[in-house]
């Protein structure tokens, strides 16, 4: 499995959220695929040298977000993508991500045209990597 974590405890992002974000990303990028099993809580905790309860909490959050599912007695698996966020929450998350991108771009003296160009290029690149997993948005267009 192509899951590589990096945990930094001194960050302003809590450890459990770092794990959540990294699994989200790995799933989005197709580094782990639907149906694939994630390491057991204990295993991952020992691998990352962190408290197992922290890992358990991350998994719980990802299960709630619909990224993972727990199959009783067998472990935790990546699920078929489904949208579990309400319209409002979904929009809030998107806006938050956009805000971060804009701040970063301003800091680097970039402008809207460049951001747009890079965004489009990156989007296509990731689409290719994940072998064209279609989003709802795109299905609608068709």
């Amino acid at each position: 499995m192509a899951l590589a974590f990096s945990i930094s405890p001194a960050s302003d992002v809590p450890i459990f959220r770092q794990i959540v974000q990294q699994i989200h990303r790995a799933v989005a990028l197709g580094q782990v695929r639907v149906g694939e099993q994630l390491p057991a809580v204990r295993t991952l905790a020992e691998m990352l040298v962190i408290n197992p309860n922290t890992v358990a909490r991350s998994y719980q959050e990802l299960i709630r977000d619909g990224v993972l599912e727990s199959r009783s007695g067998r472990g935790v698996f990546v699920t078929e993508k489904r949208q579990v966020f309400s319209g409002e929450e979904r929009l809030r998350r998107l806006q938050h991500a956009a805000e971060r991108l804009c701040h970063e771009a301003m800091l680097l003296d970039s402008g809207l045209p460049e951001i747009r160009e890079i965004l489009e290029k990156k989007w296509k690149e990731i689409q290719r990597e994940t072998r064209g997993v279609e989003t709802k948005e795109e299905k609608k267009k068709k």
């Binding site: 405890p9 809590p14 040298v49 962190i50």
Partner: protein
Amino acid sequence: MNPAPVIEIDHLTKYYGKREIIRDLSLKVPPGSIYGFLGRNGMGKTTTIRILLGLEDPTRGSSTVFGEDSRKLSPETRARIGYLPEGHHVYGWMTVRECGRFQASFFPKWNQDIFETVITHFRLTDKMKTGHLSRGQRAGLCLALTLAPEPELLVLDDPALGLDPVARRSLLQSMLYVTRRPDRTILFSSHLLSDVERVADRIVVLDGGVLRADCTVETFRERLRHYVLKFRDTPPPTPEMPGLLESFRTDNEIALTVANPDAETEASLAGLHPESVNPVEMTLEDAFVSYVGERGEKSFFIKEQTRK
């Protein structure tokens, strides 16, 4: 029903002469948890640990370990406790192997496999003279001596002091390894908050001999909030508000750190009519520093909120 606590401290107070070291400390540590014991130097951590293990008498109050009064711990109960004192003391004239054999003679249970595993982990060999070991190696030896009797309760007093990052990581690994078994409990004091954040289930903050937090790391971080208020012009005077720990002012900003913020806090911030209010997440270290720092008021206590 909750399982009986491994450690129970009840209204403990300790004076050295006229100096108060611990004031009215009460704490319960349930089995199966890793407790991080935090506080600045001289705030009563080591004294609390020593009283807990019966090495010192309390002035008032009491404590029990495995249900036995700390002042009268039986040898059987002591054998269930692994204590790593501050400073990693060893007899310098012994070899590593001799240290192991010496220590083993005091314990009914001695797991030589554990001893050797930890020794190897810290790259020690049997024949090394302990007087010539580095700080990290000595820490490894002490840890091996403490873990080999398979104690149910581990009390580690600043075990990471003076360790390099690799040795520290090994120490944390050992701690997690020990608590694989659900009946194993660890209480460790530390100043390395990133280590605490990695392995602790809960933290206890002692400040000036007073218990000021007993909660999870997450709760501690969530209950301390940093706000940045932006203003068009010079900001109004910094408001008085309950829980205010720190505030900084610049030409058009006020930055505040508040303990236990609630709707009232947010309302009084909004009442200043800033252009924007940004809550900023804090690192555990920042949160800790503003909580026990010089400037903060000392009247807040952080504990788990009861969920409604």
